[in-house]
Amino acid sequence: MNYFPDEVIEHIFDFISSHKDRNSISLVSKSWHKIERCSRKRVFIGNCYAINPERLIQRFPSLRSLTLKGKPHFADFNLVPHEWGGFVHPWIVALAKARVGLEELRLKRMVVSDESLELLSRSFSSFKSLVLVSCEGFTTDGLASVAANCRHLRELDLQENEIDDHRGQWLNCFPESSTALTSLNFSCLKGETNLAALERLVARSPNLESLKVNRAVPLDALTRLMSCAPQLVDLGVGSYENEPDQESFMKLMAAIKKCTELRSLSGFSEVAPLCLTAFYPICQNLTSLNLSYAAEIQGNHLIRFIQFCKRLQRLWILDSIGDKGLEVVASTCKELQELRVFPSDLHDEEDNDTAVTEIGLVAISAGCPKLHSILYFCKQMTNAALITVAKNCPNFIRFRLCILEPNKPDHTTSQSLDEGFGAIVQACKGLRRLSVSGLLTDKVFLYIGMYAEQLEMLSIAFAGDTDKGMLYVLNGCKKMRKLEIRDSPFGNAALLADVDKYRTMRSLWMSSCEVTLGGCKRLARNAPWLNVEIINENENNDVMERNEEDEREKVDRLYLYRTVVGARKDAPPCVTIL
C-alpha cells in the first residue's frame, strides 16, 4: 500500500529522469511499476531487437521520447554488412498506429528511409526533435518532408550519417511560420546548400543555439549567418577557403566578436589556418572544440589557438598537434574533461615526427586533473607511461587507447602492455569503458577481471592467448554489458562457460576468433532467450545449402544479444540466427 495517492507518487517520479533509476523504481512493487510505466516519458532502448515496438507501447503509453540503437558498434568499422538490419520503419509504423504523442526520436546506427521520415513527419503533430547518428538509407527528400510537415520542429541534428544528397531544396521546405528552431546540424550533407534559404531560416529563428553547416557553405555566407545569429552557442564551420582575402576575413572576425555566447566550435574541414585565427576573439570562452576534421590546419596553428582556450572541457583533435601540442594543452586547459586524439595520416610512409606518443598522454594526465574520458590513437606506448597515467588520473570513466599497429609491444622494453593496462584498471575504480590495444596476453584480462568492477563496455582486438583471457573477463566483470572482441584466440570453452552471464549483458560480439559453428549452436540451444547471429558474407550466400556444415568450422562473425521477442524476421541471407 502506498502512503500517498498515485498522483503524488507520480509527481515525485517526475524528478527522477535517469533511465537506470526509473528502471529500478519499476521493480519496487506492482503499484509503483504501474505508476512508473504510465508516467514514463523517455525510453532508451540500447538494442532495437531486444524488444518490439508493440510491447514497448503497451508498457509505456505516455511515451514522448524514444532512443533506439541498431547495429552493433563494430558496424562503424565496416564489420557488419549494410543490409544487416536495424530498420526504424516498423517502429514508426507502430507508434503512428497507436497514436503515441511522440515528440523526440533519437537513432543511432539504424536504417532510416525517406518513407519512414515522411510517415514520421505526418504522424506526430507535436514532434519536436530528430537526432540521427551514424544512420543511413535516406535522402534529402526525407529531410524535406520533416522540414515541411513538422510544424513544431525544434531540433534537427544529423551526425555523421550517410545521406544521399539530391541537391533539392529541403531547406526551402521549412515554412515561413517555422521560427522555433533551436538546433540545426547538417554538417554531414555532401551537396550544395541553398544559401538564401538557410539565411532566411536562421534569420527567423531567434532561439537558434546550435548551427552546424556543411562544407558547401562558404565563408562569406557563414559571416552573414553569424551576423544574424549572434546568440549562437554551438557553431559548426564547414566551408572551404584557400586563403580568405583581407576584407572577408575582417568581416568574419567582426561577426564572430559579436557571438559572445559561443561555447562550442567544430567543423573546419578543408579550412585554411587563417580561418581558425578569426575565432581568436572568443576562444577564451570555448568549452568544447572539435578540430578532428581539420586536417588542413598544421600543428603550430592548433597550438597557438589552443593556448588561449583556458576554459576548454572537451577537445577533439588530430595527432598533428604532436606531443608538444599536448603539453601546451596540459598546461593551458585545466578544466579539460574529455580528450580525443585521432590519427591524421594513415598512409604516412615515413616516421611521422609530429604524431603523438606516450609522452603526450603522460603530459595530459599530469596537467589535467579533471580528465575523465580519453580516446587516444598513437603509434607507440610503454608500460611506464600507462602506470604514470594511472597514478595521475585515477578518475577515468572512459579509457580508450588505440595503438595503430596490432600486437605492438612496449617499445622500450619489448614486453607486453599487460602491466600498463593493469595499472589503469587498478587505479581507476570508476572505469566504465575500456579499449585495449598493443601486445597483450591473458594476464591483462586477469587484471581486468580482478579490478575493473564498474566496467560496462570492453573492446578487445588482437589480444590474449587462450580462452582463459575471455573467461577472466566474463567471470570478473559483474557489470559488463557490452563485450566486443575481434581477432583474438578465444573459442568455445570461453563462450559456453557461463551461459547465464549473457542474461546480464546487452550483447557480445566476436569476429575472427576461434568459436565454431558447433559451439554457437550449442549456445543457442542452451539459451533460447538469446539471439545468436552468425554473419557470413560469402559469394554464395547459401548457408542453407550447406546442411552438412562442419560443426568445427570457425565462425567469422558472431553477434549475440538477449531479447524478449525471439528471432527477428528481417535478417538478410548473410545472417543466420541459430
Binding site: N78, L79, E192, N242, T354, T441, A461, S488, S511, S512
Partner: protein, 271 residues
C-alpha cells in the same frame, strides 16, 4: 629487436594488413587483395621471404585471423617482415595503398576495419591525402576556373552539388620541422605554385624553422634557379624531379609530394 621495431613501425606493415581483409570479405573492389587471397591456404610462416613479399604480408594478416598460437605467430611474421627489404615492401604496399585509398575513397570502406575509425572519418582523411586526381578531378580541372576560391566558384556555378576535391600534397622544406600541405587544384600554373610556396615558407615569421629563417626568396627565383632553393617533387614512381619541366596538368597527374631543397644539399633521392 630494433629490426623488429623498424619493420613494424614502417606503416607499410599496417597498410598491407589494411589491404587484406579476412577471407570472407567481398573482394570486388580490391583486386590486389583478391588475387593474393587465393594463395591463402598456401601461406605459412615458414615461407621464404624472397619473392613472396605479398604472400608473406598476406600470411601475416591471415595468420592473425586464424592462428592458434596467436601472438607468437604474429611476432615471427613481423620479424620476417622486418628482414625483408623494407623499401620494396613499402613500394608494394604503396601500390596497394593507392588501390586501397581509391577503393576506400570510392566505396567509403576500409577492408579490415582497422584502425577502428568511422568510415566518415576515414573518408575525410582519404580525401585529404589523395594526391592522384581521379578521373572526375581531371575533368573538373579543365572545366572549372582555377581561382583561389575554386570550390566556391564551383558551388556558384551550375555544378550544383559537386564540391571539387582538393588535391593536397605535402610540402617539406629543408631546415623546417613542420611540413605543410597545399592544394594543387587551387593553382593553375607553376608561377602560382611558386608564389604560394614563397608565401608559405619564406614569409611566415614562424618558430618552426631551426636554421636562419630570414631567407628572402622571390617566387621567380625559386623557379628559374637563381635562388638558393629549388622546388622538387616526387612522382608516382618515387623519383625526385625538378619542378617545371612538364606541362602543368601533366605535373598534376604525377606529383605525389613536394620538397623545397637547399641547393647545396642536393644529393638527390628522397628523405
Amino acid at each position: 629487436m630494433s629490426g623488429f621495431r623498424d619493420g613494424c613501425s614502417s606503416s607499410g606493415s599496417v597498410n598491407v594488413m589494411i589491404g587484406v581483409s579476412s577471407p570472407a570479405e567481398e573482394g570486388e573492389d580490391d583486386n590486389a587483395a583478391a588475387v593474393a587471397l587465393s594463395s591463402e591456404d598456401s601461406c605459412s610462416p615458414d615461407e621464404t621471404v624472397a619473392g613472396t613479399e605479398i604472400d608473406l604480408a598476406l600470411g601475416l594478416s591471415i595468420g592473425l585471423n586464424r592462428s592458434r598460437n596467436h601472438s607468437s605467430k604474429v611476432r615471427s611474421f613481423s620479424s620476417s617482415l622486418a628482414s625483408s627489404s623494407s623499401s620494396s615492401l613499402t613500394k608494394e604496399s604503396g601500390t596497394k595503398r593507392s588501390a586501397d585509398s581509391s577503393a576506400a575513397a570510392s566505396k567509403g570502406q576500409v577492408a579490415v576495419g582497422w584502425p577502428p575509425l568511422r568510415t566518415y572519418r576515414i573518408n575525410s582523411l582519404v580525401n585529404q591525402a589523395k594526391s592522384v586526381p581521379t578521373e572526375d578531378d581531371i575533368q573538373k580541372d579543365t572545366t572549372t576556373t582555377t581561382t583561389k576560391n575554386s570550390v566556391v566558384a564551383a558551388v556558384k556555378n551550375d555544378e550544383v552539388g559537386f564540391i571539387k576535391s582538393p588535391m593536397l600534397v605535402k610540402v617539406t622544406m629543408d631546415g623546417v620541422i613542420i611540413g605543410r600541405k597545399i592544394d594543387l587544384n587551387a593553382l593553375d600554373s607553376y608561377e602560382a605554385l611558386a608564389k604560394t610556396l614563397e608565401q608559405m615558407f619564406f614569409h611566415t615569421p614562424s618558430s618552426v624553422t631551426t636554421t636562419r629563417c630570414k631567407e628572402t626568396t622571390r617566387a621567380s627565383e625559386l623557379l628559374d634557379g637563381s635562388s638558393e632553393y629549388i622546388i622538387t617533387y616526387q612522382d608516382k614512381d618515387g623519383d625526385w624531379m625538378l619542378v617545371g619541366d612538364v606541362p602543368w596538368l601533366m605535373f598534376l597527374g604525377c606529383v605525389k609530394r613536394l620538397r623545397i631543397m637547399r641547393r647545396s644539399g642536393e644529393t638527390g633521392g628522397g628523405k
